[in-house]
């Protein structure tokens, strides 16, 4: 009798863990695993840990925006191309000797326009975001290639590169500082404001949300703008980190961003999500990449390991719906 009680208690705890804390536990387990396995290969050195934070920053920031889109029941497939176009516009403006602030606003303006376009077509045209953003993505990739004719734009503005990715304040990378700022703003917006609650209501059940007077169209427009803006900002950080802008920026990031958001506990079906969870999801993916590389695994094995983690995350996400 006691055994049965114990077992149901453990089951309850496991369910609770899988629901709320799986990403945190997974992250801790991966860090412990690599700390033991790679103890003599520099995994736990300060510089390597800072590497992980720096390397995951742009994914984390895109994941914040994507969390909003997915919680609202949408998805934004155009973020990769938005990253490239924003970085290129910023790079071109800097090359034209525009003031840094203007170049930054230009880059972010690209995101704003793309988000507005995605939102308008989605809500006014009543087209699923997956289709709209797929189309937008193609247009943006073409634009990114055309405006510089596939040439990389060097960025020599020291203020820009320091602030947006290459600088350190003390020993802390500005990329990490930006991640913290964006994560805090995102978490507060999603969890502590009426707008955030409306996003969750829209993604949870849009009919009910409309019944309670929520303008779901405005909410969907809002999340798509947030998603594009976060991708634009990621583009600025790529440009600052690599002192250049290139049409290929962000092209390989979409799957990683979606994986980070889902691993972080955001339901693919919408209605529920966590910005902090997405950041931890991104860190988990980054730690995995870093550890697998340090362990000497070749790229195909790294891809297999990453794919397995994504599948596990999706299985857990779907299981949670049943629970």
């Amino acid at each position: 009798m006691k055994n049965i009680k114990n077992r149901s208690f453990i089951k309850k705890i496991l369910k609770k863990i899988s629901r709320n804390h799986i990403v945190y536990i997974g992250f801790i387990l991966i860090v412990i695993f690599f700390s033991i396995l790679l103890r003599d290969r520099g995994f736990l050195s300060f510089s390597n840990l800072m590497n992980i934070l720096r390397q995951t920053a742009v994914i984390s920031i895109m994941a914040v925006g994507m969390t909003f889109a997915i919680v609202a029941g949408d998805i934004d497939l155009s973020i990769g191309a938005t990253v490239a176009l924003s970085a290129l516009v910023t790079g071109i403006l800097l090359r034209m000797q525009c003031p840094t602030i203007l170049a930054v606003l230009g880059g972010l303006g690209v995101g704003l326009i793309i988000g507005l376009f995605n939102g308008l077509v989605t809500t006014k045209g009543r087209v699923p975001t997956i289709l709209v953003t797929l189309g937008t993505q193609s247009v943006l990739v073409g634009l990114a290639r055309r405006i510089t004719n596939l040439q990389t734009v060097p960025i020599e503005n020291k203020n820009f590169t320091f602030i947006f990715g290459s600088g350190n304040i003390g020993k802390i990378s500005t990329l990490f500082i930006w991640t913290i700022i964006v994560a805090l703003i995102g978490q507060l917006l999603l969890k502590k404001t009426a707008f955030g609650r409306r996003i969750q209501a829209t993604g949870g059940d849009s009919n009910t949300a409309r019944f309670f007077g929520i303008s779901t169209n405005n909410i969907r427009m809002g999340v798509l703008i947030i998603s594009s803006l976060s991708a634009s900002f990621a583009g600025l950080l790529y440009a600052g980190r690599l002192h250049s802008a290139r049409y290929t920026f962000g092209q390989a990031d979409l799957l990683t961003v979606i994986a980070a958001v889902i691993i972080g506990g955001t339901a693919l079906s919408g209605g529920r999500g966590s910005v902090i969870g997405s950041i931890i999801g991104s860190l988990l993916m980054g730690t995995l990449n870093n550890g697998l590389l340090l362990a000497g695994l070749a790229v195909p094995e790294q891809m297999i390991a990453r794919g397995i983690i994504i599948i596990i995350a999706i299985v857990i996400s779907l299981r949670e719906k049943v629970i």
Binding site: G42, R54, R145, L150, T152, Y238, L242, S244, T248
Partner: protein, 384 residues
């Protein structure tokens, strides 16, 4: 109803614009049929592509990579150091395997341990990430192929700052100078390969015919050199061969679509030059679909699919290959030079090899340091 009408108008306008652009493109290429497209037509100065070897992107002249050798005493000196190395490639495939095989053959002899191998999948951000992660292992040597010269300048800055021996393959980071930030750059003889491809094209066409030129439309030192010297050699050495259409590709998978369009616009094409073998697979498919088995393909580098086609007397007439294994040897030797304080040449090039089915096995051995796959060996037996 009004909305539907609006959508129809938008679609029709878009299609008209696309058609207008395509039509203007046709006119431009059709006009070139008369005299054949020249390097000047493509916007390049032929004097830059006339020398025996290309200079490196920093302007250093090339020497033969076979001059980079170590004496027995020097080998013993390197062995004493128990050095470690990391290899960071831009991509993956047989060529990279050939490079790695060449490097390993030297490092094994020198007692240098390879502690990390990675490829950035042509992603500049991943390249920067790989460099940062590699630094945690503190290697003595990094051999790398930068994806993009401009982005690489920042990505490899920490390597330079740490004083790690840095040797580049095929490309260098912008603003870097040999002997300062890096030791040497080693590459294939890009000018020679372009010219050799033109010579093979002449053989394929029997001295006369029309060529569709499918080039790599990206800013990449080696492929740009090969493509442009091919055009120049055709223009200067083979007056009866005309390049009647020229189009570029960025993704390898798009070359087939380029070939399809070219064939529609220029059915008079007798042969295609394709920048390298993987995109040529798409061109092969385009020829099959168009039922144009009469058209030849000349391309660069070995790969099983196009090699099999060539062996069986298909559309692939001939190839030129870079000797990647030799490049790997030169890269490893150049890094050893730096370890013992010996000055390495800033830029070195390896030989090339013209490939046909008779020297296929030797080509795989010299290019990749390996035997061809069983399928190729079997096809060679069956088509003797």
């Amino acid at each position: 109803m009004k909305k539907s009408l609006l959508w129809v108008v938008v679609v029709v306008l878009s299609l008209s614009m696309v058609a207008a652009f395509s039509f203007s493109g046709c006119k431009k290429e059709a006009a070139a049929v008369v005299k054949g497209i020249t390097l000047a037509d493509l916007g390049f100065d032929s004097s830059k592509y006339s020398a025996k070897y290309a200079n490196d992107p920093d302007g250093n002249p090339a020497v033969s990579a076979y001059e980079i050798t170590l004496t027995d005493e020097e080998i013993a000196k390197v062995k004493e150091g128990s050095y470690t190395a990391a290899i960071l490639w831009a991509g993956a495939g047989e060529c990279y395997e050939g490079l790695t095989n060449g490097i390993k053959s030297v490092f094994d002899e020198l007692g240098i341990k390879i502690i990390l191998e990675s490829d950035s999948q042509y992603d500049v951000a991943k390249e920067a990430t790989d460099v940062e992660t590699t630094l945690a292992l503190n290697p003595d040597i990094i051999i790398a192929m930068p994806v993009d010269p401009v982005s690489a300048a920042e990505a490899f800055k920490a390597v330079v700052d740490k004083g790690i021996v840095l040797v580049f393959e095929e490309n260098i980071a912008t603003g870097y100078h040999a002997g300062e930030q890096y030791v040497s750059m080693v590459s294939g003889d890009s000018f020679g390969i372009g010219r050799a491809a033109a010579d093979i094209m002449n053989e394929a066409l029997g001295g006369k015919g029309n060529v569709g030129f499918i080039y790599h439309d990206a800013d990449f030192f080696v492929t740009n050199n090969r493509d442009r010297t091919f055009v120049l050699q055709i223009e200067q050495k083979y007056p009866d061969i005309k390049i009647v259409a020229a189009s570029g590709f960025v993704e390898e998978s798009k070359a087939g679509e380029v070939a399809t369009v070219m064939l529609k616009q220029h059915p008079e094409i007798n042969a295609f030059y394709v920048a390298w073998a993987i995109p040529a697979i798409g061109v092969l498919e385009a020829l099959r679909s168009a039922e144009r088995n009469d058209i030849k393909i000349v391309t660069i580098d070995l790969d099983p699919t196009t090699d099999l086609n060539m062996i069986s007397g298909g559309s692939v007439y001939g190839k030129v290959t870079d000797l990647y294994y030799d490049t790997g040897i030169a890269l490893a030797n150049a890094s050893a030079y730096a370890l013992i304080g010996k000055e390495a040449p800033p830029f070195a090039v390896v030989d090339l090899m013209k490939v046909n089915k008779d020297n296929m096995i030797e080509a795989w051995d010299r290019s990749f340091g390996m035997e061809p796959p069983d399928q190729i060996l079997e096809a060679l037996k069956n088509n003797q």
